[in-house]
């Protein structure tokens, strides 16, 4: 590839950082969840990039990154469903989605 490896890696890092930023600043629980997905996307991008640039010597090794990515995505989906369920339960129970208003437990 002509494209230097720094470009996709940089994009992945930026995605991760943006995800962090969003997850830490927005108080809507669903939105936080979305940003977490963005961060995972950054990770995936990282994996694929490394795989594409360095680990093409055998099909077995080349397959590792996509597979790991696949698992990450699967887990992300499962996490998202459980997370949304938790958020929904909370919304139903307390009528808030703002994580700032969720601090019964502290100290």
């Amino acid at each position: 590839m002509q494209l230097p490896i720094y470009y996709p890696l940089g994009l992945a890092a930026l995605l991760f950082g943006l995800g962090l930023w969003g997850a830490l600043t927005r108080t809507n629980a669903v939105r936080i969840l979305m940003f977490v997905e963005i961060m995972l996307n950054g990770v995936n991008l990282n994996l694929v990039t490394f795989s594409r640039y360095y680990w093409q010597s055998s099909p077995e090794m080349a397959a590792k990154a996509p597979i790991l990515t696949l698992f990450i995505m699967t887990v992300a989906a499962a996490e998202a469903s459980v997370g949304l369920a938790i958020i929904l339960a909370m919304v139903k129970n307390r009528g808030v989605i703002d994580v700032d208003k969720v601090n019964l437990l502290k100290g």
């Binding site: 990770v43 680990w55 790991l68 969720v102």
Partner: protein, 507 residues
């Protein structure tokens, strides 16, 4: 390109070895089926328990399997299922401990589920089993993929368990906090993994280790790559530190522990934590135990251990809610165990055996405590230290058992907690971290400060509350724990032998 992968060499299955996990999976499904047919949902307890016990037996069975034993006796762990699972003493030891934890948690939550969880036995036990399954995979693999999947399975199970008290805002909150923190942590962990993969092209731990010791990209980039790898290691460590609730990644723990249903809190404090320690040991020893990096992660864990011990113990002093106090206590206990992890840097065998023995010790002790807490919770709801007032009059057996457990947590003989601390001390001293042993000693004493509050309330104060009638599940758990706490001390040689065999094979 079919045929590129040789099926036989790649997979090489042994179903004896995966039998424990299979049995748990089967139970998980069986419960669902049985649920259709039984009227008295409470009877699901027996099904689940039977499954766990059978699985526990199959662990022993697997450990004595000829094929696996052959590998174990020559000291080379055997890999099965494409290297995703590894058959060694370490796996069996921790699997047995985790299954034991599951069995005890199942027992101690019988009444609780009835009372607070609307009798949702099916869901509760299913999720519990799946979390256990995830933990079992976590400790039995040498591949980051499986470890990650296991970790997530146990995490997701934990999130669900934490939120099981649907109507309780605190439970919601606990689940939410646990969940949000947990996802961030796994993202960070994965980022670290992606870097490690990037420099090694491997997901298996020995592959990573081989790469880190200087092949491929690492060889090409030379020393310049070290900072990047260290960064990856820090991310991985951070992710695991979150799982074991080490300071400063501990903040979620008190909230999650406090809000979660009490039996679940008990489960959190030992199960995921124990599995995470198993994974930590495996990942760091097998995957990252390479010369220039070992000292880095040793330092990281040493700092985390010290911080965990001090913060955990000191903050626990300020607590009035006992579940929260136990959360901080468990943070401190994680700090103690991390001392063992630190020791693995130079003394892998001693450190590892100390940590896994301590996991066993801590599980036995803490589950006993949580059994009693659960009982008190069932009587009163909010569990504050003042609920313990006059426990010696309300139920002397509980009070004395509780005392024994607390003593074990402090680390006073003749309890298993002491044996655990002893091995940790020994490992720390062996690896040259005498100061950590001292910090540990000092912290054991600080911890008296808050455990003492409970003891004082139990024995030196009185209460006019009615006597506590023991219930089957909880009494059994307490009895098992008491026997374990004393018995493992007396028969510690057997367990130590197991632990050190396990540790010897971890490579």
């Amino acid at each position: 390109m079919p045929g590129a992968i040789n099926w036989t060499t790649a997979v090489h299955p042994n179903y004896v070895f995966i039998m424990p996990q299979l049995i748990i999976t089967a139970t998980l499904l069986l419960v669902m089926i049985v649920d259709f047919y039984v009227k008295e949902k409470r009877n699901l307890v027996w099904v689940t328990l039977a499954g766990v016990v059978v699985s526990l037996f199959s662990v022993f069975f697997a450990a004595t399997d000829e094929d696996i034993k052959l590998g174990m006796t020559i000291g080379e762990p055997r890999e099965f299922f494409g290297g995703m699972l590894v058959a060694d003493g370490f796996t069996f030891f921790l699997q047995a401990v985790l299954l034991g934890i599951a069995a005890l948690v199942i027992l101690l939550s019988v009444d609780y589920v009835e009372k607070f969880l609307r009798g949702a036995y099916l869901e509760y036990y299913q999720v519990l089993l799946s979390a256990t399954l995830g933990m079992m995979f976590m400790v039995s693999s040498r591949d980051i993929v499986t470890i990650y999947i296991g970790l997530e399975l146990s995490s997701i199970g934990s999130y669900i368990l934490a939120g099981m008290l649907r109507k309780d805002p605190k439970s919601n909150e606990a689940a939410l906090k646990y969940f949000l923190n947990g996802t961030i942590a796994s993202a960070v962990l994965l980022f670290g993994v992606s870097i490690l993969y990037g420099v090694s092209g491997q997901t298996s731990l020995e592959g990573i280790a081989a790469a880190l010791s200087g092949t491929g990209v690492v060889a090409a980039a030379g020393d310049a790559l070290v900072p990047l790898i260290v960064t990856g290691i820090i991310f991985v460590a951070g992710g695991f530190a979150f799982k074991v609730a080490a300071v400063p990644m501990h903040l979620w723990a008190p909230d999650a522990y406090e809000g979660a249903p009490t039996p679940v809190t008990g489960f959190f404090s030992v199960g995921p934590k124990g599995a995470a320690f198993g994974a930590v040991l495996r990942v760091f020893l097998v995957g990252l135990g390479v010369a220039p990096f070992t000292e880095r992660w040793t330092l990281i864990w040493a700092v985390l251990a010290t911080a965990s011990m001090f913060v955990g113990n000191l903050t626990a002093l300020m607590q009035t809610n006992i579940k929260r106090m136990m959360a901080y206590s468990s943070i401190a206990q994680a700090g103690y165990m991390l001392v063992g992890v630190v020791a693995t840097g130079t003394e892998p065998a001693a450190g590892t055996s100390a940590v896994i023995f301590y996991v066993l010790a801590y599980a036995l002790t803490n589950l006993g405590i949580f059994a009693i807490l659960t009982h008190l919770d069932q009587e009163g709801g909010w569990v504050s230290i003042s609920d313990f007032k006059g426990l010696v009059n309300r139920n002397p057996a509980y009070a004395w058992a509780m005392l024994l457990f607390l003593v074990s947590l402090i680390g006073i003989p003749p309890t298993v907690g002491f044996m655990g601390k002893l091995f940790l001390f020994q490992a720390a001293a062996k690896s040259g971290y005498l100061w950590l042993a001292l910090v540990m000693a000092v912290n054991s004493v600080i911890s008296v400060g808050y455990y003492y509050g409970v003891v004082k309330a139990m024995f030196l104060e009185t209460s006019d509350k009615p006597t506590l009638k023991p219930s089957f599940g909880i009494s059994t758990t307490v009895i098992v724990s008491v026997i374990g706490v004393v018995g493992v001390t007396l028969a510690s040689n057997w367990f130590v032998q197991m632990a050190s065999n396990a540790a010897a094979m971890l490579k």
